[in-house]
Amino acid sequence: MTHASVDSQVPDPVLHGPDTGHEDHAHSPHLAHHFDTMEQQYDSGKLGMWVFLATELLMFGGLFCAYAVYRANHPEVFLYAHSYLNTMWGAINTTVLLASSLTMAWAVRCSQLNQQKALIALLLATLVGGAGFMCIKAIEYNHKFQEDLGPGRFNQYNVDYKGNEEYKGMTNPEGMTALQAQEKAMTPHPLPVVAPASQPSRPGLYFDPNSTGADKALITPRYSADASLSEAQASRTADVGGEKKPVAEGAAADEEHERGVQFVDMNNNLSRQRINTFFGIYYCMTGLHGVHVIVGMSLIFWIMWRAATSAQRVWMPPLPVLAIGAYLIFIYGISHVAGFLYVGIPLLILGVLWLVLRFVTAKRSGPVTEGEFSDAYFAPVDLVGLYWHLVDLIWIFLFPLLYLIHGKVGS
């Protein structure tokens, strides 16, 4: 054997000449030399990918386990806090990912049937689906950050949140004593207000913002009728006994969903720390999933590159730069945080310039090499498809667990 690498592609006949070093034994150029047959290589790759998917399941499994433990122990927290999530966007995301799984599976079939153009088109469609998912994710996250419902210390329910000076005393003995004294002084515990059954609109979750706050360790959302309400918060109100009162975001955003929920925190179990934990779990699960979507999109782009003809490859490399630039500008558009613009615009310009450069310098003549995949060799498309399906599957579990929580009254 004269070549060092074990997996050699078809060498460029223009650069390397006709001698590929394979004259003594004929086999597919895609067969790695430590395998005896293409079938063995394919089986090995398939097994490896399924085993890797098992490891991904176990990694997410830890998060699902944390979810299960906290929800089992504090169902009222999940019931309450999940209403901050926007079910509509979540459902659209689910549909988008399912559609992208369809196009991915179809792409695998196309590669098996030598349908090169359809393969490229479907891979592109899958990428568009993934990009759509990330855009909706950006909208959702942006909503939350603007409501001070970010992860960890960016969350209004976190005791370390910058605005919650009075809650920092939770580990401070003096602060705790003061809180306990307040609670003792309060009899009986005021219960949150529940909409009467005759309420025509907006039955759901809301709390009396004017409660005397004796249950400060428990839930008092920052919906007080003063100037500190953000515009978005102030605009969301509901009729309670004829008065307009501010409501939790989820209730206002998704009337259909909230209609069935009547909530009474009879044991005053809702603690702000636990709500913070719900959001922590939410961001960890959806965030890790988002990372996997990005990884999946990168893998699909790599497969698209390999499947592309040399003519198509002319315009491919600038695409990720363009896409990231556009994505950052989109985030700026919804969040108005200047930083995204400062990074997004240069990337967009760079991408456009690069694209123009590639068009201008592309060879107009010469042999056009075909894409790599055919009915004889489609394993990479297959395996990347498996990965993308797992990413989709994880979201299928995340969506109902996080967005579609219904529970018993007054647990």
Partner: protein, 584 residues
């Protein structure tokens, strides 16, 4: 059963092969090593890294044992500084030894080098993934080096501020809420461990696929060498358990960086949940550590008793049993964490069950030795050490599995001694024994076997002097991770520290033994030991592609196929006829 197939060319095994074309000189230049896809080169690079990590972890051990020589502060006149330093030393010792040394050692070095050869294959199933695993190991190591350097910088120049903190003082277990609130560089260390986890996971994926799909014709599952069975069981654990560690460490990093409140009660979290997550990985992890070692011992015992291994199927299946049972017992690290008595009882009962497959192996090795033709070469000395010390380590696990005794012994030196008997007395001995066993194959040279045997005795004595007194100290109540203690415990600590220094010196001797073998040892034959697994049919050292033609697989323990022609030289016996002594 296979006969010697005359159409399979077997190189004349007496020609000097070191200067022939082998994997070491196949291509030259640093890039040919850094970008190699050759499993043998990857194994050698792992060896250099992992042994350096061992030296680093050993250095930390020497430091902490020196601190423990006296009850008062040793490394600083200021007691607080000395105790902080001690916390850093035992944490870094544990973390470096566990994550950088003992988990990768046998699979990444010996498994990478030997397993494809044992299967008559040209490489592992995914060579590029193998290289990625190596890069992940190096990347993780870089983070630990950073943690170490941050501690060093801080102690020399306390006014320098580093983002993320200095050193690591949480214990290798990173229990919350201390790890979420301490000022040490927990994020760097846990991120390093996270990357190392991927090295382990990808190696597991690779080995599992290799064993499933690259076995040669004729090598059915139950004709596979036991080292491969051990690596297979290890791979199953690596694949299923390590991702849980990955997510646990990610959550810990998120907790520290963002304050998300999963584990910290101040933020609404549950610290016992952390312990469950952590031990769900870390208990199977100890089986990742020991199973490959047991595979090495199976090979060594069979070879140096020149006998077919006794109870092959039992040993093979007991590896799987240990792997699977190991997932069910993590709660025995948490008997005093406040979990319910029912939970404690269930974990205790299943923990005791794991003794059964472990004992099956020990009895099978002993039965193999009975009536065998024993040669006391260095690898076999280490194997004997393993069997005795593993028995002690395993038996001392039983008082820890039984709750009534565990509540007194938990977090004492008894636990420390128990796990060092299984991790050092067993696993390190298996690793060193395996290195000595496959040394001639890897380097084409022989070491001085007599010196090796004396060094084995020195390591053995040093080890026992270090850790046996710790059993007694523990039963007398000496807690673990304490830098200071009442005077009555000093004698145990002094004995232990003297043992530690002796063992350290002996291990340096082992390194010198290996290096001098490389420099001035005699050329090794292809099969110095008379073993029958397929790697011994390749030359020493093997060529780049392992075998010119794939060897034909038969019974891996059919030693009678070979006849001895020199002290460390065996060749295929052309007159051997199977059937008379064929063993199923």
């Amino acid at each position: 059963m296979s006969t010697v197939n005359p159409s399979v060319p077997i190189r004349p095994l007496t020609e000097p092969v070191v200067h022939g074309d082998n994997y070491l000189n196949h291509q030259r230049g640093i890039l040919s090593w850094i970008l190699t896809l050759d499993h043998k080169r990857i194994g050698i690079m792992y060896m250099i890294g992992v042994m350096s990590a061992f030296a680093l972890g050993g250095f930390f051990a020497m430091m902490l044992r020196t601190e423990l020589l006296t009850p008062g502060p040793t490394f600083s006149s200021n007691a607080t500084t000395a105790w902080d330093f001690y916390n850093n030393m035992f944490t870094l010792h544990g973390a470096v030894m566990v994550f950088l040394f003992i988990i990768p050692a046998v699979p990444a070095i010996l498994g990478n080098f030997v397993m494809p050869l044992m299967l008559g294959a040209k490489d592992v199933a995914f060579p590029r993934l193998n290289l990625l695993s190596l890069y992940c190991w190096i990347g993780g190591g870089v983070f630990f080096v950073y943690v170490l350097l941050s501690g060093v910088i801080h102690s020399i120049m306390p006014s320098v501020t580093l983002p993320g903190g200095y050193g690591l003082d949480t214990g290798w277990t990173f229990y919350t809420p201390y790890s979420t609130t301490t000022g040490s560089s927990v994020i760097a260390a846990t991120f390093g461990a996270f990357i190392l986890g991927f090295s382990s996971i990808l190696t597991g994926v690779n080995f599992l696929a290799t064993i499933h799909t690259l076995r040669p014709k004729g090598m059915t599952w139950f004709k596979m060498p036991l080292f491969c069975w051990a690596l297979y069981a290890t791979s199953v654990i690596q694949i299923l358990a390590t991702p849980v560690l990955a997510i646990t460490l990610l959550l810990l990093i998120a907790e520290r960086a963002l304050g998300i409140g999963i584990f910290d009660p101040h933020l609404g979290g549950d610290p016992v949940l952390y312990q469950h997550f952590f031990w769900f990985y870390s208990h199977p992890a100890v089986y990742i550590m020991i199973l490959p070692g047991m595979g090495v011992i199976s090979e060594i015992v069979a070879t140096f008793t020149h006998k077919h291994i006794f109870g092959y199927k039992f040993i093979a299946l007991s590896s799987l049993a240990i792997a699977l049972l190991g997932f069910l017992v993590w709660g025995h690290h948490m008997f005093v964490s406040g979990q319910s008595s029912v939970t404690n009882a269930i974990f205790s009962a299943i923990t005791v069950l794991i003794a059964i497959p472990s004992a099956i192996k020990v009895f099978n090795w002993m039965a193999t030795m009975y009536g065998g033709s024993i040669r006391l070469n260095t690898p076999f000395c280490y194997a004997l050490g393993f069997i005795g010390l593993f028995t002690i380590g395993g038996l001392t696990g039983l008082p820890l599995a039984a709750i009534s005794t565990d509540v007194h012994l938990t977090d004492t030196y008894f636990v420390v001694a128990h796990f060092h008997y299984v991790m050092v007395g067993s696993m390190l001995f298996a690793f060193i024994g395996g290195m000595y066993y496959w040394y001639p194959k890897m380097f084409g040279k022989m070491y001085n076997d007599k010196v090796g045997r004396y060094l084995c005795l020195a390591v053995y004595l040093g080890f026992n002097l270090t850790f046996f007194p710790q059993f007694i100290a523990g039963t007398n109540g000496m807690p673990r991770r304490y830098a200071s203690y009442p005077d009555q415990y000093q004698i145990y600590h002094v004995l232990s520290s003297i043992g530690a220094y002796s063992m350290g010196l002996a291990l340096v001797g082992v390194l010198i033994n290996w290096v001098s073998g490389l420099r001035s040892g005699p050329v090794a034959a292809a099969n110095p030991w008379g073993a029958n697994t397929l790697e011994w049919e390749a030359t020493s050292p093997p060529p780049h592609d392992n075998f010119a033609v794939a060897p034909e697989a038969g019974d891996p323990y059919e030693m009678a196929r070979w006849k001895q022609v020199g002290e460390y030289e065996w060749v295929i016996d052309p007159n051997y006829k199977p059937g008379l002594n064929a063993h199923h």
